[in-house]
């Protein structure tokens, strides 16, 4: 169907929006990336005009008008081809504004059941007319549970990815950070290293080392080296102990091409990991990272705002039943999210959209040193996400990633969030923490976790 213009009058001025992607972009709360792309509203009045017009749009319209042409983009084809009209039925009569009211009033089970009937663009649209409190409340209703060697996402849990990066992938340096994190209750989501290089041999050495640590301490969790998917495939071919296959993904075919991946490569990688059969409780073998702004950075955004494209990345993710997905919200820099205020909202939007689409959504609560943000902003975002029921957050020694040169949440932050919000680790991991005697002593390491067992002597 051809695009129809939308219009709204505010204070005597009539605003016109040529098509759906323009309407979505102009309705988006201000962020630097949309200004950089030239798609942001030019005034607060234009933005609210777009939000009012968007609120009046029937949800069913999103099934008739796409933001990037079907013929031109395999992510659009995935979104259209996978839409489930039966799951959509409870809300198909609603407008975007009516959908917001419905979500706020609905029971958790009804919200959770919608996921296959929702498209990323519908979810992005409703988020644009929501306040932060709305994003938190509705996300908290979504239930998403995944399994590999433990159970992630049960109500009342908050899991932590242990991120023990080292600038040269030194095995003992990584092992020391792993042990530090375990002693502070982190690691139930995954023990995941960002390698300093994509060298296959180096990646395999880290994979072997992580698997040895997991095995020596008998930890009910999974490991991952976050190399490019094709490097991980090569490592699997050569017999490396790969639990989870990682890849950064985006919401258009073009951004995925810039990452050197496609849906077919991801499909092939997942099949390969499944044949290894390493999961004991389940077969969620994929781990994805995303983040607003990557499509613009790769010049593959098609004039669509960065938050809508981010939601489209979740359609890619859910195709592969991942164990974990996280948005690296503050990593990309101030040209996309300028300051703490923009990072806060984006983190909660991404979590909301991911959860509504049925993903085990985590957030890398983070910032770089060239963004106008600091630890206070991160504390605020982490607390809001904890209330929203975030599946997991990162755990980095002292909040300082010495390889990637950015600040994420510390192991201490994870512990504090669990304590403040009454959250627990994944049940299998929590039982292991108790069994190993972790948490009792702030100075000595329990004998069962002796550093010598993992080469630290």
């Amino acid at each position: 169907m051809a695009a129809m213009p939308f219009a709204q009058t505010i204070g005597g001025t009539r605003y016109r929006f040529d098509d759906l992607k323009t309407l979505l972009a102009r309705a988006t709360p201000l962020r630097s990336g949309d200004a950089l792309a030239g798609v942001a509203a030019e005034s607060a009045a234009e933005r609210i005009a777009a939000q009012r017009a968007l609120a009046d749009l029937p949800l069913a319209h999103f099934l008739n008008e796409v933001v990037i042409p079907y013929e031109a983009d395999e992510v659009t084809r995935l979104i259209v081809d996978r839409h489930d009209p039966v799951a959509f039925a409870p809300v198909r009569h609603l407008t975007v504004g009516g959908f917001r009211d419905w979500l706020l009033a609905a029971e958790a089970a009804a919200v959770t059941a919608l996921a296959p009937g929702l498209t990323p663009e519908m979810v992005a649209a409703v988020s644009k007319i929501m306040r932060i409190a709305d994003l938190i409340q509705v996300a908290a209703k979504c239930r998403v549970v995944t399994r590999f060697r433990n159970t992630i996402g049960l109500p009342g849990t908050l899991s932590i990815r242990l991120q023990p990066n080292h600038p040269t992938d030194d095995p003992r340096g990584i092992a020391a950070s792993v042990l530090d994190g375990l002693l502070l209750g982190a690691g139930d989501a995954v023990i995941g290293v960002n390698p300093a290089t994509d060298n296959v041999e180096a990646v395999m050495r880290v994979l072997d080392m992580l698997d040895t640590v997991r095995d020596r301490f008998d930890i009910p969790t999974q490991s991952c080296v976050l190399s490019h998917v094709t490097t991980t495939m090569l490592a699997m071919e050569r017999g490396a102990p790969v639990d989870l296959v990682f890849q950064s993904i985006g919401g258009t075919e073009g951004v995925n091409t810039s990452f050197g991946v496609s849906l077919s490569v991801l499909r092939e990688a997942r099949e390969q990991a499944l044949t290894l059969g390493r999961g004991t409780l389940g077969d969620n073998v994929m781990y994805f990272e995303t983040g607003q702004g990557s499509a613009l950075s790769a010049d593959a955004h098609h004039g669509v705002d960065q938050q809508t494209i981010e939601a489209r990345a979740y359609a890619v993710a859910r195709e592969f039943s991942p164990l974990l997905v996280n948005t690296v919200v503050g990593f990309i820099g101030p040209e996309y999210l300028f300051d703490g205020k923009q990072i806060l909202r984006a983190g909660l939007e991404d979590h909301f959209c991911g959860k509504l689409l049925g993903l085990p959504m985590g957030v890398d609560v983070c910032y770089t040193n060239h963004a106008e943000a600091d630890q206070d902003d991160m504390d605020t975002l982490l607390t809001c996400l904890g209330v929203a029921g975030v599946t997991y957050v990162m755990g980095v020694p002292g909040a300082d990633d010495v390889m990637l040169a950015y600040q994420s949440t510390s192991f201490h932050d994870g512990l504090s969030a669990r304590a403040m919000l009454g959250k627990r680790a994944a049940p299998e991991f929590e039982a292991w923490l108790a069994r190993m005697g972790i948490g009792a002593d702030a100075e000595r390491i329990p004998a069962r976790l002796s550093p010598a067992l993992i080469g630290l002597a």
């Binding site: 300082d400 040169a405 100075e443």
Partner: protein, 242 residues
């Protein structure tokens, strides 16, 4: 029976902030203030500028032409908000042709400190190890990585090596990165490049970085490409060809 291991002893194995202790579930005051100090220093480093005359003097002994360009960005704030302009050469930039060479770009990036300190040392080791003729060294201000594509295209280079200041972290405000792109031209994406990061004291040494870059350039020459097509399979401990 040996004495129990102490948590703080983990600090021997990594520069990461391990073994901090805890106050309740939070970090103790000393660790908290150490972090805040590091962040303050990193914030100041973002606004550091490249000392171009000093860089020209440090590069002169290498015996290659040293040129100077700027991106289309006006100032540091615009640099942060407009990466598109940081990838474009300033209006009217004129570069000499040197077809088939390996061009070098020494760029400030997000922090000038690292490139100022480490670029000359890496280049001194890399240039003799090349299997292709070295082209000019171009000092670029307010530059993003992809400015190297425009520079390499103008020169007609076979490959471009961009040595650029990495975003300052808390533990390192002097880290250098190398980005290698075969057949550079405007419109290349990150999937077309190979990257070597964390060149600094405590990270990769100059020798390691130069050996890896030379290996990647030789592999790129054989393959006719860099990026995801070129898997870094340099064996551990391999030395550059004499």
């Amino acid at each position: 029976m040996t004495a129990p291991s102490l948590w703080r002893d983990l600090r021997r194995f990594t520069g990461a902030r391990v073994g901090l202790g805890r106050a309740g579930t939070a970090q103790p005051t000393a660790a908290h203030l150490d972090f805040q100090e590091s962040h303050a220093r990193a914030r100041d480093a973002v606004w550091s500028a490249l000392d171009v005359p000093a860089m020209e003097a440090a590069l002169a002994p290498l015996g290659l032409p040293v040129l100077r360009v700027a991106s289309a960005v006006a100032d540091r704030r615009a640099y942060l908000l407009r990466p598109d302009l940081g990838r474009r050469l300033a209006e009217g930039t004129d570069l000499p042709r040197d077809p088939g060479s390996v061009a070098f770009v020494v760029a400030d990036g997000l922090c000038a400190t690292g490139v100022q300190r480490h670029a000359p040392g890496v280049l001194e080791r890399l240039i003799p190890a090349l299997s292709l003729p070295p082209g000019p060294i171009v000092i670029a201000e307010q530059a993003r990585v992809a400015l190297g594509d425009a520079i390499g295209e103008a020169i007609g280079a076979a490959a471009v090596v961009v040595l650029i200041g990495e975003r300052p972290g808390l533990s390192a405000t002097d880290s250098l990165g190398l980005y290698i792109t075969w057949a550079p031209r405007r419109g290349r994406t990150d999937a077309d490049r190979n990257c070597i990061s964390n060149v600094r004291p405590g990270g990769l040494t100059y020798d390691e970085a130069a050996a890896k870059a030379a290996w990647l350039l030789r592999a790129a020459q054989g393959l006719g490409a860099t990026g995801v097509a070129l898997k870094d399979e340099m064996p551990a401990g391999a030395l550059p060809a004499p």
